[in-house]
Subunit: 334 residues, 2 copies
C-alpha cells in the first residue's frame, strides 16, 4: 500500500482490503498463459503494481449499491480485474507508442521485453478480459467495457494527432482527456453499479462520478508532469514535455505567454527542437503564467461535479471514502 | 474478385456474392470513427482489400447449417465482419512487429501511417468488434471469438520466441501455425455454425474443417514465401527468410542439409547475418532437400482431414465449394 501514500485513497484501499486481495489474486491467475514469455512479462507488470484505482472504483461502486459483501466478492473481483486489464493493456501499448523507458518507478515492459512483446501481450490481455467477461455473461457489463475500450483507443489516437500541435483547442484537449482517462474511470464505476444491482439513477450517478473523477485525475496528472517530485512520481518528470504532448499547462502557458514565450513553445513543442535547460525554462514559464493554477482550478471543477454526483446515495462510511478519493485525485503527489 | 484468381475460392466468393456485399458494407460502416486518422487508416485497409477468406468461411458455414438466406443475411454479415476485424487488427499489429513495409501489394498501414497509428487503430478495431458482438448478444459467439483472439495473441508471441531459433521442434512449429492461423479459421467456421443453428456434430465438424484448412493454408503460405511469384504474391517473397522466421521449409532444409548447409542456416537464421545472394542460396538448398515437397505433403494431410470433416453434411453445391476451398488452399499462388 506504500504506493498510495497518506491519502484518501489509502483509506479506501484499507476499507476494500479483502476485496482487493481477491482481485489481485484474480489478476495474477487470469493473466497466466502457457506461453513462457507472456508469463514473464506479466510477472513484471504485477511486480510493478500500481495504484489499482480503477478496480478499486469498481469494487467500491458495487459495494455502495449493496452488492453482497461475501457472496458477491469473487464476481466483483473478476469484473474489477477486467477493468484493470483494459488499463494494463493500454499502458503496455502506450509505452510502445510513447517509447517510454520508465513506468511506475521501474523499467517499462517495453524497455525490458521489447516493443514487440509489449504489443502482443497487450493484445493477449485484451482478448483474455473479454473471455472472462463472456464467461461472466453480463451483456450490460460487456457493453460498457467494450464501449470504453473503443473510446479509449479513439482517445489515444486523438492524443497522437494533437501531439506537437499548439493550435489544439481547449475543447479538443478535454476530449482527449475524456477518451484516454475519464471514459475508463466512468466505466469502472458503472460496471460496479451494474453488478451491485443499482437502480438507473444510482448507475448514472456513479458513471458521472467516475467520469468527473477521471477528468480531475488526468488534469492533475498533466500538472504533475511539470511540478512533481520525480522520486515520488515514479516516472520521469517532463515526459509529456519531451514527447511534445499537448496538455493544459502548455496550452495555458502558450495562450497567456508573451511573444518570446510563443516562440519558445513553438520551437520545443511544434518543432520538437529541445535543448538542455528547456524543461527548466518551460517550468518557469508555466509557473509565471499560473498555468498550473488554471489547470488545478479546472480539476477542482470536475472534482466538485464528482462529489455532487454522490448525493443520490445516503451517507455511509464508503460514500465518505469515495469523497476522499476525489480529494486524493486533486491533492495527490504521484 | 481479381485477388482470388481462377480458383475454387473464386467460385465460393461468387456463390456468396450477395452475403459478401453486405459483409463488405458492414466492414466499412463499422470501422468508421469520428476520429479522422482512424477513418483514413481504415480507408487504406479497405482499399487494400484482401481475400476475405475468413468471413467467407463464416458465411458459408452458416449457410451450410441452414441459416435463413435472406432474413439471416445482415446478422451473418455482422458476425463475419467481426471475424475479419480480428484478422485485420492482427495484421496491423503484425506489420508493426515484423516491420513490414508491404501488405497485399500496397504499402502497409505501418509504412504509410506509422507504427503508433497502427497499434492504436488495431486496438480500436478489436474493441469495436466486441461492441458489435455484445450488441448481437450471443454468448456462444463471444466465447468462441474471445478465445480465438487470446490464442491468436499467444500464437504470435510463440512465433516471436521461436524466431531465429533452429532448435524449434516440428511440434512447436505446428503449435505456432495452429495459434497464428488455424485457430481463427476454426473460429470463423464455428461461429458460422452457431448462428446457422448447427447441431453439436455439425458445429464440431465445421470447427475441425476450419482448423485443418487453416493449417494447410498456413503451411502453403510458408512455402510460398520461398517459391511464389512476387507479383502474384502481393508482398515481398523472402519476407520470412529476412525476418529469420522459422517455418517448415527452413526446418526441413536444415534437418536434411549437410554440414555446409547447417552452417549456412545458422548464419542467416540464428545470427541474422544475411548477405546478398543468400536468399537465392536458401531457395536452392530448400529445393535440393525437397523441403517444399515435404511442406506441401503435410499441407495435403491437413487438407484431407478438412475434406473428411465435411462428411457429416449431405452433398450440396455449397459443400462442393467448401471442398474446392480446400483445393485452393493447397494450389494457391498467393
Amino acid at each position: 500500500m506504500s504506493k498510495l501514500g497518506e491519502t484518501g485513497l489509502w483509506e479506501l484501499a484499507d476499507y476494500l482490503a479483502s476485496d482487493m486481495q481477491v482481485c489481485n489474486r484474480v489478476i495474477v491467475e487470469r493473466m497466466r498463459s502457457s506461453v513462457p514469455l507472456i508469463s514473464q512479462l506479466v510477472k513484471h507488470l504485477v511486480a510493478a503494481g500500481g495504484k489499482r484505482i480503477r478496480p478499486m472504483l469498481t469494487l467500491a461502486s458495487a459495494r455502495l449499491c449493496g452488492h453482497d459483501v461475501s457472496e458477491g466478492q469473487l464476481r466483483r473481483a473478476e469484473i474489477a480485474a477486467c477493468v484493470e486489464f483494459i488499463h494494463t493493456a493500454t499502458l503496455l501499448h502506450d509505452d510502445v507508442v510513447d517509447e517510454s523507458r520508465v513506468r511506475r518507478g521501474l523499467a517499462s515492459a517495453n524497455a525490458v521485453f521489447g516493443s514487440k512483446a509489449s504489443i502482443l501481450v497487450g493484445d493477449f490481455l485484451f482478448a483474455r478480459l473479454f473471455q472472462i467477461l463472456t464467461i461472466d455473461g453480463s451483456i450490460d457489463v460487456m457493453m460498457i467495457l467494450s464501449h470504453a475500450s473503443a473510446a479509449l483507443a479513439e482517445g489515444e489516437v486523438m492524443q497522437m494527432t494533437a501531439q506537437n500541435d499548439l493550435s489544439t483547442s481547449m475543447a479538443q484537449y478535454l476530449q482527449v482527456v475524456q477518451g484516454k482517462t475519464a471514459v475508463l474511470f466512468a466505466a469502472a464505476c458503472e460496471v460496479g453499479a451494474v453488478i451491485g444491482g443499482a437502480n438507473p439513477e444510482q448507475r448514472e450517478a456513479l458513471r458521472i462520478y467516475g467520469d468527473n473523477l477521471g477528468m480531475a485525475f488526468q488534469l492533475v496528472d498533466d500538472a504533475l508532469d511539470y511540478v512533481a517530485d520525480q522520486e515520488v512520481l515514479g516516472k520521469e518528470v517532463g515526459d509529456d514535455f519531451r514527447e511534445g504532448k499537448i496538455t493544459l499547462p502548455v496550452l495555458v502557458a502558450y495562450e497567456r505567454g508573451n511573444e518570446e514565450d510563443r516562440l519558445f513553445w513553438h520551437r520545443v513543442i511544434e518543432e520538437s527542437h529541445q535543448e538542455e535547460g528547456d524543461f527548466d525554462h518551460a517550468f518557469q514559464r508555466i509557473m509565471a503564467t499560473d498555468a498550473i493554477g488554471v489547470t488545478l482550478a479546472h480539476a477542482e471543477d470536475y472534482a466538485e461535479k464528482a462529489r455532487k454526483a454522490l448525493q443520490v446515495f445516503p451517507d455511509s462510511v464508503l460514500k465518505g471514502l469515495l469523497h476522499k478519493a476525489v480529494d486524493y485525485s486533486i491533492k495527490r503527489k504521484n
